[in-house]
């Protein structure tokens, strides 16, 4: 039961979905041009889930995700410039070039990262929800995880705590059918992942992750219940990953070209575009969106390319809080070679 969003909003959401698609395509290009390094996990195909879920968030809500995070950061409103600059490892990146693709964040918008250990973000997302309660703040936490993460012990411990303490948190399982090369059926004894919520007497639902409005509606409802009744929940959004696990993976050893093609036939973007057309949007309207998005992404690339590299003298910046340099000052005698100037002279804290 999807509530129809007014056309203008739908058009805006469509633009965001397209922004993610185009951004990811560009990121892959930049990776191959060696301007992006490390692991780079794309969200192409998962745009409806990213945009639908994040737009259900209200001011004061908190977002936590895994490493496949470009789409979530963009949906949350982090500028393509700040995200692309982070992928380029530049000073103006949202993590100042320290985090890269897997560790985006934007605390002003309530986005607390971008984490790389499968399932590792669940306990701390649960703790963020605990802090909201302790501080008497009205918000809730939206915590993204992948289908593969559901088999980590951290999932079990986190959900038990959230249910036991009635914490305002919604665990969003982005079920894109595979964890690397392992299909859900080969990884989870209960492949209907949302059903595992019952082991904690927690409500669990599944939604078509490629249906923008369905994702939006379900997430809004569950986040609202989390805020109002402190009832945590699991939402499983079933979608599909078009590209390989990361840019390094061709993504064909464990699935067929046909399977991918079949999914692309009901592409989430095409589905929203169709809805927009029904609602009266013209080809020109949509072309205008294409062009805006194209130029936004190109602007992001230009910005990232011109942002300076971090200064090597700031290698240790941020590692410890201001004032820590004094605590470490007496550690020097007998240090490993060059350790002092490499670590402790570099401005600790900021």
């Amino acid at each position: 039961m999807a509530i129809a969003a007014p056309q203008s909003q739908l058009l805006a959401l469509y633009e965001e979905m397209l922004l993610i698609r185009v951004f990811e395509t560009e990121a892959e290009r930049q990776y191959k041009a060696a301007r992006i390094g490390g692991y780079c996990h794309l969200s192409s195909g998962q745009e409806a889930t990213c945009v639908g879920a994040v737009h259900a968030m209200q001011e004061g809500d908190i977002l936590v995700t895994g490493y496949r995070s470009h789409g979530f950061a963009l949906a949350r409103g982090t500028s393509p410039e700040a995200v692309m600059a982070e992928l380029f490892g530049r000073r103006d990146g949202c993590a100042h070039g320290r985090g890269g693709s897997m560790h985006l964040l934007d605390t002003k918008l309530g986005y607390y990262g971008g984490w790389g250990i499968v399932g590792g973000q669940l306990p701390l997302a649960t703790g963020l929800a605990l802090a909201l309660v302790r501080q008497g703040r009205p918000g809730a936490v939206l915590c993204e995880l992948g289908d593969g993460a559901v088999n980590m012990g951290s999932w079990h411990e986190s959900l038990n705590l959230a249910a036991l303490w009635r914490l305002p948190i919604v665990y969003l399982i982005v079920n894109n059918r595979y964890g690397m090369g392992t299909s859900v059926e080969r990884a989870s004894a209960e492949p209907e992942l949302h059903k595992r919520a019952s082991a904690y007497r927690m409500p669990g639902e599944v939604v078509d992750g490629d249906d923008l409005e369905a994702v939006l509606e379900a997430t809004e409802r569950l986040l609202e219940r989390a805020r109002a009744e402190r009832e945590p929940a699991v939402l499983e959004a079933v979608t599909y990953r078009y590209r390989g696990h990361s840019v390094a993976d061709a993504g064909l050893a464990y699935r067929t070209k046909e399977e991918i093609k079949e999914h692309q036939e009901h592409d989430p973007l095409l589905r929203v575009a169709a809805r927009l057309r029904e609602a009266g949007a013209t080809t020109d309207d949509l072309r205008a969106v294409d062009e805006r998005v194209e130029s936004r992404v190109q602007a992001a690339v230009a910005f990232a390319g011109s942002s300076p590299d971090p200064d090597v003298s700031e290698l240790a910046t941020g590692m410890y809080a201001v004032g820590s340099a004094e605590q470490f000052a007496r550690m020097r005698p007998g240090s490993p070679f060059g350790e002092e100037e490499l670590t402790f002279d570099a401005g600790l804290g900021r």
Partner: protein
């Protein structure tokens, strides 16, 4: 318990004799009173009053939101502490013994310790994890470890290890007020040890400062936690039975490590014995011996000696366990050896 009621009295004495356990409890009470953001979380910290009774009475005084019992889920609630800290809370997570931190290593080392640097300083994690190490009560292989060096190895963490009741109070308070994740390593055998503790609620011990627990000019004994207590006992024996004046450096902090104090002492005594409760190979004493040997290369009259638990999983039988621990006679033998006094 007078220690905790004393601060209320108008003319409270400057210090009071109390156990290490009571000093920790006093630190928690004071910080819980001082700062709403501080809360305690862990297994059996509330209704059960702590498996080692450190938190006794706190549930009654502060309620179950601030003294929070958890299920047995160390990975889950250490992580919950991290998240709460990221939003500005001041969680103090108790891990029943350091052996159980192994199931939460990933949260401590690959999450808490990474936050500051990995996010370019955009978020901080003022988390405290407090837990006792140690052996000696026949708790056997899985419950008798002191892997202190593992944590001291990790950039992004701070690690302190109080050896006296006064430092138990001062360092725990410093850890709670610190803006970075701090591991406070307590010790099972010390919980009952008594000492003078400042009652001033403003008293904190500085992180990154060692203490010269005893002055001497013949040999330096370097240690932390319970090993520092052992070192002081050996120093007395060295004086009484061997006319040797040992200087004892109580490290108090492992990361940062106060090498200036250690190096200054060894420069004076020209001899050093490093002692730890855990296994020495790839342990804390390895770092100490490496740095002392480097910093005091021209001062040393003998190789730096190291004493720790024999490198076996601790056996249950009392005779075997005692043989394995870094007990008085083994430390004494090492000290006499560096002094060329071995009979």
């Amino acid at each position: 318990m007078s220690a905790t009621s004393a601060p209320a009295e108008p003319a409270a004495p400057a210090t009071e004799t109390m156990t290490y356990r009571e000093a920790l409890r006093l630190a928690l009470r004071e910080e819980l009173q001082r700062d709403e953001r501080v809360f305690v979380m862990g297994e059996e910290v509330g209704l059960f009053e702590g498996s080692y009774k450190v938190t006794a009475g706190l549930l009654e005084e502060f309620g179950d939101d601030r003294i929070r019992d958890t299920p047995i889920s160390e990975e889950g609630f250490v992580g919950a502490g991290i998240g709460a800290a990221m939003l500005g809370e001041r969680p103090v997570v108790e891990i029943m013994t350091i052996n159980f931190l192994l199931v939460a290593m990933d949260q401590v080392v690959n999450h808490a310790a990474k936050i500051g640097a990995m996010f370019g300083g955009e978020v901080r994690c003022p988390l405290v994890v407090r837990t006792p190490n140690g052996a000696g009560n026949q708790l056997t292989a899985q419950h008798s470890q002191s892997p202190d060096g593992w944590f001291a190895h990790v950039p992004g963490l701070k690690v302190v290890a109080p050896a006296t009741p006064a430092d138990a109070k001062g360092l725990l308070k410093a850890a709670i007020r610190d803006d970075d994740p701090v591991l406070v390593i307590e010790n099972l055998p010390i919980y009952k040890e008594k000492g003078e503790v400042p009652l001033d609620a403003g008293y904190v011990a500085p992180i990154g400062r060692a203490a010269v627990a005893r002055e001497g000019q013949d040999v330096t004994l370097v240690a932390h936690g319970f090993a520092a207590v052992r070192a002081l006992q050996v120093a007395r024996v060295l004086e009484e039975e061997h006319e040797v004046e040992a200087e004892v450096v109580d490290l108090r902090s492992l990361r940062p490590l106060d090498m200036e104090t250690v190096a200054a002492s060894v420069a004076k005594t020209n001899r050093a014995v490093c002692i730890e409760e855990g296994w020495p190979s790839y342990g804390v004493t390895a770092e100490l011996a490496a740095r002392i040997s480097h910093a005091c290369f021209d001062d040393l009259d003998a190789p730096v000696e190291r004493v720790g638990t024999a490198e076996v999983p601790l056996p249950y039988a009392k005779v075997l366990e005692q043989a394995a621990l870094p007990h008085r006679d083994r430390i004494l033998a090492a000290a006499l050896h560096t002094l060329d006094l071995s009979g």
